[in-house]
């Protein structure tokens, strides 16, 4: 009887232990899976946070760019107007600085991605530049009309045409002769000289020089403008011994040296002393 009881007890105890062990194993497996899942869930939650943040930034970027794009057409329209103004000014007024300013504004617009105010400011700048160029051209045209009414009579150009005249005029303006009358004429040294200055204070040019290169034209106008300044001190100049000594009394040589002083170097070389003396004529000083 005792042996039976003991045997039953051993079997029951062994069964209980095995069941307990099985339950513990299952629980350990469940906890291990839970840990893995918890790590994955935490990663997913962090990715959710990242995505929400990135979407917020992207939405802001999209809105910024849309705002900049909204004001871009107005800027492009102003640039088109400026281009037309530059075309009207070509050969009449120097627009180098205006064009550089417009390019600078345009560069700022191209680089801008978020602030529409930069574009609207650039649009206003370009608009102002267009107005300035148109104003300069109008002033130039007015000056041309007033000059045409003075000596000599008749139109300022003949065979060189308005465009050719504009090139020569622009060169004369560029070298500082903005207020000096300019006329096409075949009468300079009987037509053999390409240009000449008149002691009445204006300059004549032969039609073919309108096709000269800009540099050569600049030099020619600087040379003729130098004669105009010589005429203003003509008496003192010819009674100056230094003029005779240094330039041999040659107004052409002096005009070349005066052009060099202004930065327009012709084919004749001038010493430093000659340039220093010639520079005085530009300001009315005969030393």
């Amino acid at each position: 009887m005792l042996a039976v009881v003991v045997s039953v007890a051993v079997i029951v105890v062994a069964g209980a232990i095995e069941r307990a062990d099985g339950l513990d194993t299952e629980r350990a497996e469940a906890i291990a899976e839970l840990r893995t899942l918890a790590v994955s869930a935490r990663d997913a939650a962090q990715r959710t946070d990242y995505l929400e943040g990135a979407i917020g930034i992207a939405e802001d970027d999209t809105a910024d760019r849309a705002a900049v794009l909204a004001v871009r057409p107005a800027f492009v329209a102003e640039i088109a107007a400026l281009s037309e103004a530059l075309g009207r000014a070509d050969g009449r007024v120097d627009t180098t600085a205006d064009r550089a300013s417009a390019l600078s504004a345009q560069q700022a617009v191209l680089a801008e991605l978020s602030d529409p105010a930069v574009v609207t400011n650039a649009t206003a700048t370009v608009h102002a530049l267009t107005a300035k160029i148109d104003g300069d051209v109008a002033a130039w045209q007015t000056a041309q009309q007033s000059r045409r009414g003075s000596v000599p009579a008749g139109p300022a150009w003949a065979s060189s045409g308005p465009d050719g005249y504009a090139r020569v005029r622009a060169a004369l303006d560029r070298v500082g002769g903005g207020g000096i009358g300019l006329y096409e004429s075949e009468s300079c040294a009987g037509g053999t000289a390409p240009a000449c200055a008149n002691s009445d204070g204006y300059i004549k040019y032969r039609a073919d020089i309108a096709n000269w290169s800009v540099d050569r034209l600049n030099w020619a106008m600087a040379h003729e403008l130098a004669h105009i300044y010589q005429f203003r001190v003509w008496g003192a100049l010819h009674s100056s011994s230094a003029y005779q000594t240094m330039f041999g009394g040659d107004p052409e040589f002096l005009a070349n040296c005066m052009a060099v002083v202004r930065g327009f170097r012709g084919s004749v070389g001038c010493s430093v002393d000659q340039q220093a003396w010639a520079s005085g004529i530009w300001v009315g000083a005969v030393r």
Binding site: L23, D24, R27, A41, A44, R47, A58, V76, I79
Partner: protein, 81 residues
């Protein structure tokens, strides 16, 4: 004397059995709790994945839109050369 021994033995047997049953119940409860936590975490993970998928699609669309806008902003048509 023998009767007493039998009674004590029976009491001990019943007590031991009760302890074993109680321990078994605790193990079952702990296992059920762990499985419930696994199910809850798995559901949470699946929900996060679904949300992330939608967010990623939204972000991709926004980035494509930004790329298109920047292409338009870099367009120099009509500008000074």
């Amino acid at each position: 004397m023998r009767v007493i021994a039998v009674i004590v033995g029976a009491v001990l047997l019943l007590g031991g059995g009760a302890l074993v049953v109680a321990a078994d119940q605790q193990r079952l409860a702990a296992l059920a709790a762990a499985r419930a936590a696994v199910a809850e975490t798995r559901e949470r993970l699946e929900t996060s994945k679904a949300v992330n998928y939608e967010l990623a699609e939204t972000l991709t669309a926004l980035r494509a839109q930004i790329a298109e806008q920047e292409k338009q902003l870099a367009d120099t048509t009509g500008l000074l050369q």
